[in-house]
């Protein structure tokens, strides 16, 4: 998220839009019916976040190291095959993935976390591999030629030069993750999906929006947060935002 410029304008438009929407909903009498679900929203949002955080953290913890391993010279032979498989994995529809997880792990949070983990893992892994592969070979050659050990090359040269792309993968993956958590309700894992799907069933737009709006806000917030991390923690020399 760029500070100032277009990004600032977009954010302003977004906030203005939210206000306009709020005013419109108030006028139609929907807002009071949303607010009526306040208690549920807070409880379910926490559940929602826990599902997202657990699956997201696992995906990062597995995806980034796996991506690093796949770009090491000695795994070069299998790296191609693994990325092929991973690419194939991304084409499986989310709902099918969740259904599969349920058929193996049963009902409740574990299958939901697992399905979300797989869903989040793929973009993180692919971006980690892409980011590391995009590090110009002369940098690695210079680092070797100056006497860095493979570990030093990874930590001081490869990762810093790939971290922006890796974070971009995490950013997209987590936003998708949060937006997908509502489906977890379908296999009994709770989350804001409960309000959304129940709202649909009962034809109660207030309830539906009480689930949908916080979901959207959470996704935007996480996106913003990681955008800030990208902005401030990626070294200035390799940060396209600065």
């Amino acid at each position: 998220m760029r500070a100032g410029g277009l990004g600032g304008l977009a954010r302003f438009a977004f906030v203005a839009g939210v206000f306009a929407l709020g005013a419109w909903l108030q006028a139609r009498g929907t807002l009071p019916s949303i607010l009526q679900h306040r208690g549920d929203v807070i409880y379910l949002a926490r559940q929602h976040l826990v599902l997202a955080a657990m699956s997201g953290a696992m995906a990062i913890a597995v995806g980034v190291p796996l991506g690093i391993l796949l770009t090491r010279e000695r795994y070069a032979a299998i790296a191609g095959i693994v990325t092929q498989i991973v690419n194939l994995g991304t084409t499986i529809p989310t709902l099918a993935l969740i259904a599969l997880a349920m058929s193996v792990l049963g009902i409740g949070a574990p299958p939901a976390v697992f399905a979300l983990f797989v869903l989040t893992l793929l973009p993180i892994l692919l971006n980690t591999v892409a980011g590391l592969n995009a590090v110009p070979p002369p940098l690695v050659d210079a680092a070797r030629g100056m006497g860095m050990t493979p570990g030093q090359i990874l930590r001081r040269v490869e990762l810093p030069n790939a971290v922006f792309v890796i974070l971009a993968g995490i950013r997209t993956a987590l936003a998708i993750n949060i937006g997908t958590v509502p489906l977890a309700f379908l296999i009994g894992a709770g989350g804001l999906g409960e309000l959304i799907f129940t709202g649909i069933d009962l034809m109660e737009p207030g309830m539906l929006l009480a689930g949908a709006i916080p979901t959207a806000l959470l996704a935007v917030a996480v996106d913003f947060l990681i955008g800030q991390i990208q902005f401030w923690f990626v070294p200035r020399g390799v940060n396209p935002l600065r």
Partner: protein
């Protein structure tokens, strides 16, 4: 000193380097030269073991590199590549300090060194230390690349076409800077190039490669004067004699301590002095010895009066520090067969003639 003994490198069916024997004396600049794919880079990279030789031995300062740990070997050898390879995530300062940091130098000592090195290549540390590579021009980046290799003061420097990506004008400048640096630091340098002019300018020794074989290993002058075969002759170019002109300074080829006259002396004195030396012209100098003009014999033989009344302007002069190419160029420009040679202050130091130059080329070619 670097010694290669029967060094070969095989890449599958390709013999990239074929039984090369070579000694680079300490403090020498050895330029590896040859057409694309002849094995220059491979030879260079075997010295710091970025490539392991298939057979043969390489000794750096008497130590067999195969017995030294790769990582510590590389930290003791400076490394510069054409793509420069500055780390974009680090400031110029941190880039320069990479090897000192790896070697565990105290932080303050390393940073101080970085500032000193930048000054050596005419980059203001106050401006550049905290910059990132993306904020440098190509020439600035390459200068940083060179000083980064020098940071830990390694005795040996490997450079693979370090100035290849720089435009011709800046390349000359940065070559000159490097030569000045080298005159001071006296590193043992192995320098890969495919530019014969660059090689002639930088090298104490040139190694010509062809298909992985070392064909000729000689001083630039001997290489240009006596190419060992038709391949080398063609590679160094049909203008090789002109190239040799760049290798010799005016001071080496001129006649020093020449006769001269002052403006206050009489024309008869000038004529007498010319006849004594068998010259057809004589340079007129100012009171402290600066070259001011010329008196020509056929113009003043019958004349009377003072030299000052008959002198003509000098048709061009050369600096004693210029190379013979500059001198010959001046001669052609002014259509003359001799030139007065002056030093930086303009003092008259000698004269140089076309026959003198020809004799000089013949003499050095025969040496050794």
């Amino acid at each position: 000193m670097i010694r290669l003994e029967q060094v070969s490198k095989q890449f599958g069916p390709v013999t990239a380097v074929d039984r090369v024997d070579m000694v680079v004396p300490a403090g020498a600049v050895c330029v590896l030269l040859g057409p694309s794919g002849c094995g220059k880079t491979t030879t260079m990279r075997m010295i710091n073991r970025l490539i392991e030789p298939t057979s043969g031995r390489i000794l750096v300062d008497g130590r067999d590199t195969a017995t030294v740990d790769q990582v510590s070997l590389r930290r003791s050898i400076g490394y510069v590549i054409q793509q420069i390879g500055l780390f974009p995530n680090m400031t110029v300062e941190d880039n320069i300090c990479v090897v000192p940091d790896l070697l565990g130098w105290p932080r303050a000592k390393a940073r101080k060194r970085a500032a000193e090195l930048l000054e050596l290549v005419n980059l203001d540390p106050g401006i550049f230390l905290k910059r990132y590579p993306k904020e440098l021009s190509g020439g600035q980046a390459q200068r940083v690349g060179v000083v980064r290799a020098l940071a830990a003061d390694p005795p040996v420097l490997l450079m693979d076409e370090p100035f290849g990506a720089i435009d011709p004008i800046n390349r000359e400048v940065i070559q000159d800077e490097f030569m000045k640096l080298q005159a001071e630091l006296r590193k043992t340098v192995v320098f890969v190039s495919h530019d014969i002019d660059e090689a002639v300018k930088m090298a104490t020794r040139i190694a010509i490669f062809r298909d992985g074989r070392l064909i000729q290993y000689d001083t630039p002058d001997r290489l240009l004067a006596h190419p060992i075969d038709a391949f080398v002759a063609e590679f160094v170019g049909s203008d090789r004699t002109l190239k040799r002109l760049r290798l010799i300074r005016v001071a080496e080829a001129m006649m020093a301590d020449p006769p001269r006259v002052t403006a206050e002396e009489t024309v008869e004195t000038a004529v007498g002095r010319m006849q004594d030396h068998g010259h057809v012209a004589i340079v007129m100098v100012g009171p402290r010895g600066r070259a001011r003009g010329v008196v020509r014999l056929d113009a003043v033989r019958e004349a009377r009066g003072l030299v000052g009344e008959h002198q003509e302007p000098l048709p061009g002069v050369v600096n004693v520090k210029d190379d013979l190419r500059a001198a010959v160029s001046q001669m052609f420009t002014h259509g003359v067969t001799w030139l007065a040679c002056v030093d930086d202050e303009g003092f008259y130091r000698g004269y140089i003639t076309q026959t003198g130059i020809t004799r000089m080329l013949g003499a050095t070619a025969g040496e050794g």
